[in-house]
């Protein structure tokens, strides 16, 4: 009997195709926008996770101040900035940590960005000079595509050597191979020993391809700065990350107060970014969900009109043996089907939309979002179908048959 009622409902939907489509339009737009907007949020999360994966999951950072909040999110940025400018981190802390914990830590490096003008012949360009330890490429998996990365010896000698990012090289050298050439940074001469492959940007930050990499000690000497942005450590094994983190904290506390520095790993940063993107995704989805509710109200309106329009039909069905329950179920199924069909079309449109977006933006339609959209649209259909269905079920067959 239920199967028959289902078939009756399907037939009723296909009888008036234009009205059916217009009714579904609201749900199509609602589900489509929910799925598409959450796909953008999800795509961003996956993209960020992927970028972090590339950096390595066994990496630890030490930064000045407390940039993170306790439960994810951001902490006191102002104070963190202040600590950074005070040159809180000193290179000897790094050396000490490396000396004492070689069992846990494979490599460690200090990074220190500095802004200066890079010049080759008559081409000049403002660039970020990134002072790093010689061991930096082993931690952040950056390798010279042409030439070589500078060595520990270069660093100790404070040698005037640099490695160029792909983009800055192209901007200053054009098609010329820079390796072996000399460039001027703030009127001092440096030899280019290596050129990096394209790496791409950190998310939202400057592109690593724009950096000029220089031995940290060279930077200290030439630019007369002690300022260190952060330490990066490569832990020997992913499983040792927590232990290494504790040891580094212990070591740092010998020199600094507890609130003057933070040791964090990828997961902490990833959690923070994910929690922000999660809120963003939920927010976008929530706004889109409003249109889903509007779509549901559209269904209710049309179904109410439909019940009035089909009063005689309902009367006839009741006269020839349809019970009130069957009439109610028929109209509920009609509303739910309208909504679910609309949802299906919405999902397809959102999927195509996300494919189109992918050339500009990481968008990812997930199975979870699709299932959620389906169940929500079915629920919307049923919830907004109740009032019209009850109205239909309660019609008196005599009144209904007499209705003009």
């Amino acid at each position: 009997m239920l199967k028959n009622t289902f078939l009756i409902a399907i037939k009723a939907i296909f009888i008036n195709k234009v009205r059916t489509f217009l009714t579904m339009l609201g749900v199509i737009i609602g589900v489509g926008s929910v799925v598409l907007l959450t796909s953008i949020g999800t795509g961003l999360q996956l993209y960020v996770a992927d970028q972090f994966e590339q950096l390595g999951s066994n990496t630890l950072y030490v930064v000045p101040g407390k940039p993170f909040g306790d439960g994810g999110g951001f902490g006191n940025q102002e104070q963190a900035m202040l600590e950074t400018t005070k040159a809180t981190l000193k290179i000897r802390y790094l050396d000490q940590i490396l000396r004492n914990h070689r069992d846990l830590i494979a490599e460690g490096a200090a990074t220190s960005p500095f802004s200066a003008t890079v010049k080759y012949k008559n081409q000049s360009k403002k660039a970020i000079i990134f002072g790093v330890s010689a061991s930096y490429p082993e931690i952040q998996t950056k390798e010279a595509a042409t030439g070589e990365w500078f060595t520990k010896i270069d660093e100790n000698k404070q040698a005037a050597v640099v490695v160029l990012g792909e983009k800055i090289s192209e901007e200053v050298f054009g098609d010329v191979n820079p390796v072996g050439k000399f460039i001027k940074i703030d009127s001092k001469s440096y030899k280019v020993v290596g050129l990096l492959d394209t790496i791409g940007g950190g998310f939202g930050g400057p592109s690593f391809d724009n950096y000029v990499y220089m031995p940290y000690e060279t930077l200290v000497k030439r630019f007369n700065t002690e300022y260190i942005d952060n330490f990066v450590f490569k832990v020997r094994d992913e499983l040792l990350v927590d232990q290494a983190k504790k040891e580094i904290e212990k070591e740092m506390e010998k020199y600094l107060e507890e609130d003057e520095f933070t040791v964090f790993d990828q997961t902490q940063l990833l959690d923070t970014i994910n929690s922000i993107l999660g809120v963003l995704t939920a927010g976008l989805g929530g706004i889109a969900a409003i249109s889903l509710v509007v779509g549901g109200i559209g269904i209710m309106n049309i179904m109410l009109v439909s019940v009035t329009e089909r009063t005689r039909e309902i009367g006839l069905r009741k006269a020839i043996g349809a019970t009130p329950n069957l009439i109610m179920i028929q109209f509920l199924i009609e509303a739910a089907l309208l909504s679910v069909f609309g949802g299906m079309i919405g999902v397809v449109i959102a999927y195509l939309g996300s494919l189109a977006l992918q050339s500009f933006f990481p968008a990812q339609v997930t199975l979870g979002a699709v299932l959620l959209a389906f169940s929500v649209s079915a629920v919307v259909g049923i919830v907004f179908g109740v009032a019209p269905a009850r109205k239909a079920a309660n019609l008196s067959p005599i009144e209904a048959l007499r209705y003009e």
């Binding site: 009997m1 005689r312 006839l316 069905r317 020839i320 043996g321 009130p324 005599i398």
Partner: protein, 247 residues
């Protein structure tokens, strides 16, 4: 006795007024009878039809169908009873729009829970019986008034009901189509079907075996008669049955 109404009354509340649509009416109908119900508008004949066909509940009295007291049946039980025992023919045909003749005829079987293949078989046979074998896929808008009423008759017959109720079956038709419908009703009566037909046209009532006349909510006349044979008198002057399909 197939259907029995004993002392049945019906009151309507209309604002502050109470309208006695039926006043203690008693009627017995035997199986195979063809009854015409007549009377001016407001006489109570429509109310009688609604109560006798189990669509409406009386305010008082007892209704028995096949010796079962169905007076106190609830809405669900009455829906099932109508589905099994009663066929309806309306003045307005009441076919589902944009739905094929075959689908329309199948409708009572759908609610009876009959299998799809049997639905098709029986609905087809009924449409053949009313001369619409070649119109199975036509929707009501593709059929003439007379053809639509024949589809409705097929629908009324398809669940093999005990009684067929016809409410002004020719009231919405031109006289030519009306004759065809009358002939079908006569044929059904000859096959032993029980028919209760409301009409205000004397020449339509004449084809029945018995006429009950209502006035002011009461039966004023209830008499048997020899049904008029229209098949011999009128059919001769008309084209053969087959040609009337487009009537």
């Amino acid at each position: 006795m197939l259907l029995s109404l004993q002392n049945v009354s019906k009151q309507y509340q209309l604002g502050n007024m109470v309208i006695n649509a039926l006043k203690h009416v008693s009627v017995n109908v035997d199986a195979g009878e063809f009854v015409a119900v007549m009377g001016p508008s407001g006489s109570g004949k429509s109310t009688f039809l609604q109560i006798a066909s189990i669509l409406a509940q009386p305010s008082g009295g007892v209704i028995k169908l096949k010796d079962r007291d169905v007076t106190a049946y609830d809405e669900v039980e009455r829906a099932k009873l109508r589905n099994q025992e009663i066929g309806f023919i309306f003045q307005q045909f009441n076919l589902l729009a944009r739905t094929s003749a075959l689908e329309n005829v199948k409708l009572p079987l759908v609610y009876a829970g009959v299998s799809e293949s049997e639905q098709n078989l029986r609905a087809r046979a009924m449409l053949e019986q009313v001369g619409l074998a070649d119109r199975l896929a036509n929707t009501p808008s593709q059929l003439s008034g007379g053809q639509q009423q024949r589809v409705a008759i097929a629908r009324a017959l398809v669940n093999n009901p005990s009684i067929i109720f016809a409410d002004e079956p020719t009231g919405n038709l031109d006289s030519k189509s009306g004759e065809v419908i009358k002939q079908i009703l006569i044929d059904l009566s000859h096959q032993g079907k029980t028919i209760i037909m409301v009409t205000h046209e004397l020449d339509v009532a004449e084809i029945a075996q018995r006429t009950i006349t209502f006035h002011d909510g009461e039966i004023t006349k209830d008499q048997k008669q020899t049904p008029k044979r229209i098949s011999q008198t009128t059919a001769k002057t008309k084209k053969p049955r087959k040609a009337k399909i487009n009537a």
